[in-house]
Amino acid sequence: MQGAVLFGVGVFQAILLLLAAPLYSGISRVIRAKFHSRRGPGIWQDYRDLLKLLNRREVIPAAAGLAFRATPYVVVVAMLVVAMAIPAVMVRSPVAPMGDLITVIFMFAMARFFTALASIDCGSMFAGVAASRETTMGVLNEPIMILALFTVALMSGSTSLGNIAAAIHAGRMPAYAATLMAMLAFGFAVFVEMGKLPFDLVEAEQELQEGPLTEYSGRSLALMKWGVALKQLVALTLFIGVFIPFGAAVALSPVALGLGVLILLIKLLFAFIAIAFVENTMARNQFLDVSRITFMGAGAALLAFALSLARV
């Protein structure tokens, strides 16, 4: 019975994040406009954009095949699976058999695999370069994610994200400095994964014509855009749910869950505002130099691991 309720919470989490994704990307756009001293389009604009695109006819290049057509669906599904599995509203993973840190990281890899595949498939040169970049970012970023999460997992004795969140929530981490350092490293990796400036390299709008999205149009573009927004939100929720689980529901009661939802949304809002400050004060990196910067993230994760070994 409890399992079924938890599964329901997972489904609810997935729907919540799916529906909230355009809101947060809209908020990002508004803050960006403020930085530019513009009035901006308003926070609901991304919903209007999606609705408009869903009603448009698709235009598909002749070279595009199955991978191109399937990818918008795969990206959304992969991110919904992650959204169901991670601790977000609660201090535990609603669907624990999918909520292992390795499973979650490889679900992100799945989205990446198909995005890159579709980019090559459509035959556009911009998207082709983006495919190369997308997979390269995975190469640079996944080791940081794995080491940072492994560090906290080792300290909490489980690779299940829910158990890690519970250990942090209860203050059961044996080494605080290591936890903090792992949090910084993972935060960095999530920021890179979100593709915000200065790491806006895959969907680089001015440089690569939005990379993987170049050839998409109509409802496919709507789903792709939604998928990208969802991916950003889910990545950030993963970070908050594991490292800052405070305020999330412990008990499985309607009140606690409602409060958990509210606090999650507020935490996400603050996180998006903080990210807006970073992305709007930075210039884009040159792509081939980006490995030097991600190296810092890897260094931070390594430091966290060393601190955890020393139990500091």
Partner: protein
């Protein structure tokens, strides 16, 4: 029918099939059919026999005196051997089905001989797995090398012959290490039976010497870095159904040897053995996939990726050894379970991918990925099967590769929780190497599938390619279904393999599955349910489909435009991502590990005398190890040869003296 009889019938059928194929050499069709059908039946029998042993968790032995006085003919069909026989049989089954139409490509080139070599190759692999006596083990081991050598040089062109020579040279020189190890054990125990090897109470130094000899001896066959250089040349040179067996299965016998000797016979007694295995595994994994990424020849790419996967398996084996050496049974069980699982998985998806590569060569007559493109539309079945293989090898959930890599990660995690500092330090770091490998594998197989099947055709041959015949598709399709079954069926497969691990270690099986979930011995550490992931994914597809269906856009048929958008310029076929362009970022970022040699040749006319307007840059990514190994072969070997010439004066009496001296040394060894 008892399992041993099944196995014997299976081996006999392979041999009959091979002999019959040779006798039918005049008719290509008859030879293909006879060799193919016998090996299909034999493979089914082998699968049945090994599946039964794996399910029972125990298997029979067979003993006969044999014609040779110092070596009795012993067979032992334990679960480890059964796992290998299962791997051999499954891939052989698919490859034989596939060969029924694939061999058309080799018409008139001696299919009868190929059938003989192929069937004897499979039979010798089965015998290597079950042989329980050092002499017969080596005999079948050499037969395996010899038959596969003939398959490598089958094309008879310079490249194939050179690859065959390198293969033969390296495997022969490293099987010397095995012979030395067997000889040392023989001296110590007075018998070549593995059972007496197991019972031997070796002094620690001798154990370490034998471990190193067998580790490198078998490691060369497994294609572990730095002994891998023959592998990316030899595997692609063979016909594709044989490549599938060499890359999917034969390398596993190297792994088998390491497990059999380091763990079962020598007892994995020292911790440094374990970390040596993990270190070689980690380096093989990262370098293997990095070099795979640099390839434009699909079969070479797959061969390098075998180096990577051997590395991943070795990492699991190493963790298992560390568990045994430090006395933690759960760690030992999970590490070995991961290794066993990945052994099975890799055979299936690498077999599938090699058969897919063969289908592409069959349809386009090229192995160069840059000359394919757009094949998903013309060969949709091959494209789908290859995609399943690519997703599996890139460890995308919930397919086969993901489950075994998940178990490997869990093994490293358990190592990181270990009691000693070495484990706590190196376990998680090895997991990071595995993460890097996984991300590079994603890149590698996105490139492979995307360039071959995606976009527009990049050559005449690719534009006119047609789907391959149905038996080839059935061979690939069977393996694709297995890729999914081994992923989704993890809760069923894992306990069976866990029992095989337990039989190897002669201890109780560690609990790894409950209902639809698997876990690494401890539910608190982690749980995974691949069936649940699959079901949830299938159900969630309804969400984007519903979103799309609820709006007007669905009623409007898509407009197909001839070309991708090129900022208002005319689209040109060359305006797509190229094989070398795709891997430029890692090329730059990992430059230290590559050595880039660019050959430039001017194409077309030049506008300015000093500026070459267009150059055709062919970037050949040349792994560093190759150069070093080639240096040894080109300089070192002749040098040693010159030194040795001093001994060969041509004087018969001096030669007699050598023989006498050798005899005296042998006598001293035997008596002393």
């Amino acid at each position: 029918m008892p399992v041993l009889a099944l196995l014997e019938t299976s081996v006999a059928l392979y041999t009959i099939g091979g002999a019959g194929s040779l006798l039918l050499w005049r008719s290509d069709a008859a030879a293909t059919l006879f060799a193919g059908v016998t090996s299909i039946v034999a493979a089914i029998l082998g699968t049945a026999a090994s599946a039964q042993v794996l399910i029972d968790g125990t298997g029979p032995s067979f003993a006969a005196a044999g014609p040779i006085p110092f070596a009795s003919f012993l067979l032992r069909f334990d679960p480890l051997a059964a796992l290998l026989v299962l791997v051999i049989s499954l891939v052989t089954l698919a490859a034989s089905l596939y060969s029924l139409s694939y061999l058309r490509e080799y018409a008139g080139k001696g299919i009868g001989v190929m059938g003989l070599c192929f069937n004897l190759f499979v039979a010798s692999m089965v015998m290597v797995a079950v042989a329980d006596n050092g002499f017969y083990f080596l005999l079948f081991w050499e037969l395996m090398t010899l038959t596969s050598y003939f398959l490598v040089i089958f094309d008879q062109d310079n490249k194939a012959v050179a690859a065959g020579f390198l293969y033969f040279f390296i495997t022969q020189s490293f099987s010397m290490l095995l012979m030395t190890a067997f000889l040392l054990l023989f001296i110590h125990t007075g018998s070549l039976d593995f059972s007496s090897f197991r019972a031997a109470n070796l002094p620690p130094w001798l154990g370490s010497v034998i471990f190193l000899l067998t580790f490198f001896g078998f490691g060369a066959k497994a294609g572990m870095v730095p002994l891998h250089i023959w592998l990316p040349r030899a595997h692609p040179a063979a016909p594709s159904h044989a490549s599938a067996l060499m890359s999917g299965v034969m390398v596993k016998l190297g792994i088998y040897g390491i497990i059999r000797f380091a763990i079962e016979i020598l007892g994995a007694s020292a911790v440094w053995w374990a970390w040596t295995v993990v270190a070689f595994g980690a380096v093989s994994a990262v370098l293997g996939v990095l070099y795979a990424l640099g390839e434009t020849d699909i079969k070479r790419l797959l061969a390098y990726s075998s180096v990577e996967n051997v590395g991943i398996i070795l990492m699991g084996v190493g963790v298992g050894m560390a568990g045994i050496a430090t006395g933690s049974p759960v760690l030992a069980a999970i590490g070995l379970l991961a290794a066993f699982y990945h052994t099975l998985n890799h055979a299936v998806f690498k077999g599938l991918l090699f058969l897919g590569a063969g289908a592409l060569t069959f349809a386009t007559s090229t192995r160069d990925m840059a000359r394919m493109g757009g094949l998903a539309r013309r060969m949709s079945w091959t494209a789908s099967f290859f995609l399943i293989g690519a997703l599996s090898i890139a460890a995308i959930p919930p397919l086969a590769g993901f489950v075994s890599e998940w178990l490997t990660y869990q093994a490293f995690f358990a190592t990181g929780m270990g009691p000693d500092f070495t484990s706590r330090l190196f376990g998680p770091l090895a997991a990071v190497m595995l993460g890097l490998t996984g991300a590079l594998a994603v890149m590698c197989f996105v490139k492979a599938w995307g360039l071959m099947f995606g976009g527009a055709a990049r050559s005449e041959a690719a534009a006119s390619a047609a789907e391959v015949p149905v038996t080839m598709l059935v061979g690939m399709g069977g393996l694709a279904v297995l890729c999914m079954a081994l992923g989704l069926g993890a809760p069923v497969v894992a306990p069976v393999l866990s029992r095989a691990v337990a039989a190897l270690r002669k201890s109780g099986a560690v609990e790894v599955a409950d209902g639809t979930v698997i876990f690494p011995g401890d539910v608190h550490q982690a749980v995974l349910s691949t069936p649940l992931v699959a079901v949830v994914m299938v159900c969630l597809v309804a969400v984007p489909v519903a979103i799309a269906a609820m709006h007007r856009g669905r009623r409007l048929a898509p407009r197909i435009v001839p070309e991708a958008w090129a900022c208002g310029y005319d689209h040109d076929a060359r305006m797509t991502v190229s094989a070398s362009g795709f891997v430029e970022p890692p090329d730059v970022m990992f430059r230290g590990l590559y050595r880039l040699r660019a050959m430039q040749g001017p194409v077309g006319d030049t506008l300015d005398g000093s500026v070459i307007v267009s150059t055709e840059a062919a970037g050949i990514v040349e792994p560093l190890w190759n150069r070093m190994a080639m240096w040894v072969a080109t300089r070192g070997v002749p040098f040693i040869g010159q030194q040795l010439q001093v001994m060969e004066g041509g004087n018969l009496r001096v030669y007699c003296l050598y023989i006498l001296a050798a005899l005296a040394v042998m006598l001293i060894c035997v008596v002393g």
